[in-house]
Symmetry: C2
Subunit: 355 residues, 2 copies
């Protein structure tokens, strides 16, 4: 079994901690270890370092190698430009085919949070068994609210006998629905959030790309010819900008036959924003989630993220307060999606040091 860690994210919503040079997955937002370090370590019982591939952008490769010294450098695959998940997964699948002929691959975002790691690994093992045929398996998350930022997986028939971990056929996948539709999904039941984590054989996903994404497939076939030669990176660099930018969800999963899902319940968060971090963080009696030295006077339900600096909150509630050496964010809880507007404004005003 292989693992493919997708580490192409920019994470502008975690400004000011996340920066162009240091996206979310390279940060220690959750604790002492960086997020990608946690991602790699939690699958270590299933996949050794030599079978872990990481796909990332050129500017983050050096830091990534520094953080993951046990991963062989040749397992770090460089995308010259981001082209969404389908090309990234296709490139990794080619490497696996070249390396071992064929294998099941766990495709995992680098920057999610998993609360219960043992439960997570059980789900991955179930998914791997389900993918041993030629099915494409997606990990579904039981929804806790009518979120509109996720895709929804409609469960079909159950494939496993009672007692075994549940695996379902997928009836349909609905990309980010409007609020009313999400509410209907929740009320109706039988829908899961699409976590963006997938399990399949390298041969199965390449076959599906060949059938459903011919442009991408053409590019991948040209890369395949030079794989392992000294021309490899040059050809990837030349071809990648021409590839269609398409997600594996939209480009493959929504259209493929033989798609299965394993519902998971392992304290998942995609850590999409500072709000999400407050949600999953341990809190004190006043509902404050604090990292750093803190004095609160009549201060409640806030996030304070300020490693190494004192923060005092007085008479405030529902704030996200994030501090770095050169910048400070103070954001109302529930508004952290707008942090990307701050980054846009910094770009517009050319305050370049802060990007």
């Amino acid at each position: 079994m292989f693992a493919v860690i997708m580490a192409g994210g920019k994470g502008t919503r975690f400004w000011p901690r996340s920066r162009e040079a240091m996206p979310k997955h390279l940060l220690d937002i959750l604790g002492e270890r960086t997020i990608i370090r946690e991602t790699v370590e939690r699958i270590r019982p299933l996949v050794p370092a030599e079978r872990t591939l990481v796909v990332t952008g050129r500017s983050h490769a050096a830091e990534l190698i520094r953080q993951l010294p046990e991963i062989p450098p040749e397992n770090i695959l460089i995308e010259p430009v981001g082209r969404n998940t389908a090309p990234c997964i296709g490139l990794a699948a080619l490497h696996i085919r070249k390396c071992v002929g064929d294998a099941v691959m766990l495709v995992l975002p680098s920057d999610h949070r998993i609360g219960d790691e043992a439960a997570f690994r059980t789900v991955l093992q179930t998914a791997a068994r389900a993918a041993a045929g030629n099915a494409l398996v997606t990990i579904g998350i039981r929804p806790t609210g009518p979120e509109t930022g996720y895709g929804y997986i409609e469960q079909g028939d159950r494939c496993t006998p009672p007692g075994d971990t549940a695996v379902y056929r997928v009836r349909s996948i609905r990309e980010k629905p409007p609020r009313e539709e999400a509410e209907r999904f929740l009320k109706q039941g039988g829908f899961l959030w699409n976590s963006g984590m997938f399990v399949w054989k390298a041969s199965a996903i390449l076959e599906a790309i060949g059938r459903l994404l011919p442009d991408l497939n053409g590019g991948l076939m040209r890369i395949r010819e030079v794989l392992g030669t000294d021309q490899e990176q040059a050809v990837v660099d030349a071809i990648y900008p021409e590839l269609p930018s398409v997600s594996v969800d939209y480009g493959v999963m929504e259209k493929a036959r033989d798609v299965l899902t394993v519902p998971g319940d392992f304290g998942w968060s995609d850590l999409g924003s500072w709000d999400a971090l407050w949600e999953i963080s341990p809190k004190d009696e006043q509902g404050n989630a604090v990292r750093g030295e803190f004095v609160g006077i009549d201060a409640t339900r806030s996030l304070v993220h300020s490693p190494g600096k004192l923060v005092a909150l007085v008479g405030v509630e529902d704030l996200l307060v994030v501090q770095t050496a050169d910048a400070l964010l103070v954001c109302r809880r529930g508004h952290s999606q707008d942090v990307k507007k701050v980054v846009e404004e910094i770009e517009k005003r050319e305050l370049k040091g802060y990007l």
Copy 2:
């Protein structure tokens, strides 16, 4: 004419900018110059540097000399401990008596803000003329609201003819009244805020202290004997801790006869808190008063004080955000009196570097 600048304040309410080692008057909170520098410069047309005395604590003397290089070092009077305003003023009056026999002295806090400096000087000149007899003159401020943090001066008869700047007899001085009383004063009219700025002859205030504060007077007389000798500071250091801690308002002004007031209207603020700074600061269209690089997304009516660092506010209103190299304060507007509780908490938890 002499000026006596009282620079003994601690200014904990301006934490985290004000610290034990750097109280409010030594900070550049208002603009490019420090507050005491502005205080000294605005009276320069009336009083030369050699006739300006500054009374301060030992730990702030060096910084004060650095900020006010034109003031002769012997004009910096050191109080070994703070004993409120009456001893401070008495000590300065002794120096003036010793130096020139007698003179009118302008007694000014080091840390107030004056918007209209020309109008302020006109008021001081009027007060100086009124003090040329033996009156004790206090500068009154026309109240703009029923503040409970100030003393109130009840005006009596007018002493100056129409056309001249108004000077009134003082009927009574009421220390910090309860809210209802302050409201009544405002409704009734004829009340002024006590600004804590005074004008009198050195001989007149020493005479009043002699009459009304015999304990203080005894200590001052012992200091007078050694003034100008090499024992002076040693005797001050020995006697000061024994002096009664009493304000000139309570100890003298409320009880003295022949007290006059000159009402002033010159954009005064005692800069008592970060709230006060927001009130007097120029604001942008969203009502934000900003110092430092700033990005606001749906952010209104806030103070941002962050020299040299970027602050982004998202979806918030009515906040006071103050940042230094090592600490951050985020306070709801209207709650900045509670900043002193932060300082108390820092003391209690012995986070000493932050005091």
